[in-house]
Amino acid sequence: MKALCWCGKKNVQVQNVDDPKIINPRDALVRITTTAICGSDLHLYDGYIPTMEKGDVLGHEFMGVVEEVGGGVGNLKKGDRVVVPFTIACGNCFFCQRQLWSACDNSNPNAWMMEKAYGFTGSGLFGYSHMMGGYAGGQAEYVRVPFADVGPLKVPEELEDEQVIFLTDIFPTGYMAAENCNIQKGDTVAIWGAGPVGQFAIRSAKMLGAEQVVSIDHYPKRLKMAAEGGAIPIDFNDEYVYERLLDLTGGRGPDACIDAVGLEAHGTTPDALYDRVKAATFMATDRLHVLRQAIHCCRKGGTVSVPGVYAGFLDKVPMGAAFGKGLTFKMGQTHMHKYLKPLLEHVRAGRIDPRFVITHRAKLDQAAEMYALFAGKKDECIKVLLKP
């Protein structure tokens, strides 16, 4: 089959590889009908995530049709149309049973790697480095889905692929980021990053009752899309973010701040340049300009919610400000399985149409150029869909 393989920093190639097969009883094989490139794929593309191996098949946002199921999968059959959550979870461990699906104890074959790095292991992920399990991803024609009896969700025929594909990651991720803000009536939520996750966080915060949502970015097209979703846009190149947020909140600061950017933050302030230098000289791994600003701007007793990916060590975290204001931090990989059904309901009921975020559609064969385009934020690219 054809699959997009990681061949090193800024080098991905569509190659012919073996078809996947059922390995374990709880596996299913899915023929992919639609897949997408995620902003977090760009961290792999840019070489920020350790333990990638050349030839790894990428992609963790995908959906398709069940081709075959293992003996342990009773709830799916050949021909079922499913979306597949990007986190892989067993459904039976302490964490799965407490809805902490991305902390699953039993789905990462390389648990020891993550244990060495983080103290404990998280769940396996599709196409997201060997530390996260090394599972082949879904930017391909077929994919093997482990624990298919608890992960994939059947989708109704009347909904097109494009309406439900984002249930596989970015919609739940944006939604959990907003849910983590514990939004109360009258709240203001400020969201850094108006990429796909930021866009869904904006709309989710609105759905969860935020009175005012603010979106901070510097790409006009993204800010325009944010405004269409009901957010007040701030272009950080034109305005002082802290002052503007204070203006918008009567000097109180946002009740919650969401960092939907993560470890590759851009910025033009001295601390952002400092991060770039340190990362470029291998003295630090993650650039956290956004996180610093979110902590700085958040109101006293507020919440900083982090759906943006961090992988390594952070330098100059303003812990004093966080402590001094008594902030709450919420973060982590999305507990996908918890959100699939309720968010599918939102889509089905027409409360949100996720198609708004799509800017580019291409064939899987064009994946390499689409990665380059998305990474370079060229052609006003926000979200790329690929068809095998």
Binding site: A3, G72, N92, S107, W112
Partner: protein, 257 residues
């Protein structure tokens, strides 16, 4: 609670309930005879070293001071790193003059009731499903079994074992009998947790490394670290019990770059 560990573990450790196990990083792991030798040799080195006011002399004194400390405290950092101990032990396990053996203790929580977890382990023929180095275990009698394992460099090692203690839902322990090439023993304790939080599985494995401490050092340097091995075995046990299968990526497609 009596068990075959009488004489193997220090008394306080043997009779303490699990939660009172001594903190592992400072546990005594040097036996009485070796401690005496360590203190005497160390003292001699300090004395002789300090007599010569030279760099090698000072170095010898430093080494001597370390030996004295090791003897006095009964804790050796190198032994700890290698999971080696030479505290007094069951005479049947001895094969080295200073009685060193590998001793690994690991714990993992399994999200199943103690009875179920015990029952899976008690069927000894299940062990090769999660203990990677075991090829097969055959039950040969009410209390006896025959074990076949792959040692370093794919060498096949076989031995007979007998159950020492067996309390449903609580403990299983066993030891090798007869002239095993690798004398070994093991104990697994099950501690059911409240509020349906599953079962703590405490595993203690001991064996005489085929080539003594040097063999253990060799194994450690070349990748077969016994502590990590036991941990991975326990992890596979947990995965089988909870998920019903072992997660794997073996056999999945991979590109050629």
């Amino acid at each position: 609670m009596t068990s075959w560990f009488s004489g193997i573990l220090p008394n306080d450790e043997l009779h303490a309930p699990l939660e009172h196990l001594p903190r592992r990083h400072r546990q005594k792991n040097v036996g009485a005879l070796e401690r005496t030798i360590s203190v005497l040799a160390g003292g001699l080195l300090v004395g002789e070293g300090l007599k010569r006011l030279s760099l090698p002399g000072l170095a010898a004194a430093a080494v001597g001071a370390h030996l004295v400390r090791r003897g006095a405290t009964g804790h050796c950092g190198m032994y700890h790193a290698l999971n080696v101990t030479s505290v007094e032990e069951d005479s049947k396990l001895l094969s080295h003059p200073l009685h060193q053996h590998i001793r690994v203790h690991k714990v993992m929580t399994v999200n199943k009731p103690a009875g179920e977890v015990y029952a899976f382990w008690r069927d000894l023929e299940n062990l090769p499903r999660f203990m990677q180095h075991l090829e097969r275990v055959s039950v040969t009698g009410e209390k006896t079994s025959h074990w076949v394992a792959r040692g370093p460099r794919e060498r096949v090692v076989e031995w007979d074992a007998e159950l020492v203690e067996d309390k449903p839902g609580e403990v299983i322990s066993w030891k090798s009998v007869g002239g095993s090439q690798v004398p070994n023993a093991g104990e697994v304790r099950f501690k059911g947790l409240s509020e349906g939080r599953g079962t703590e599985v405490h595993v203690l494995l001991m064996y005489d490394p085929p080539a003594g401490v040097l063999g253990a050092l060799y194994a450690r340097l070349f990748g077969a670290e016994p502590g990590q091995q036991v941990k991975e075995d326990l992890r596979r046990f947990k995965q089988l019990m909870e998920a019903g299968e072992l997660p794997t990526i073996e056999g999945q497609p991979q590109g050629q770059c």
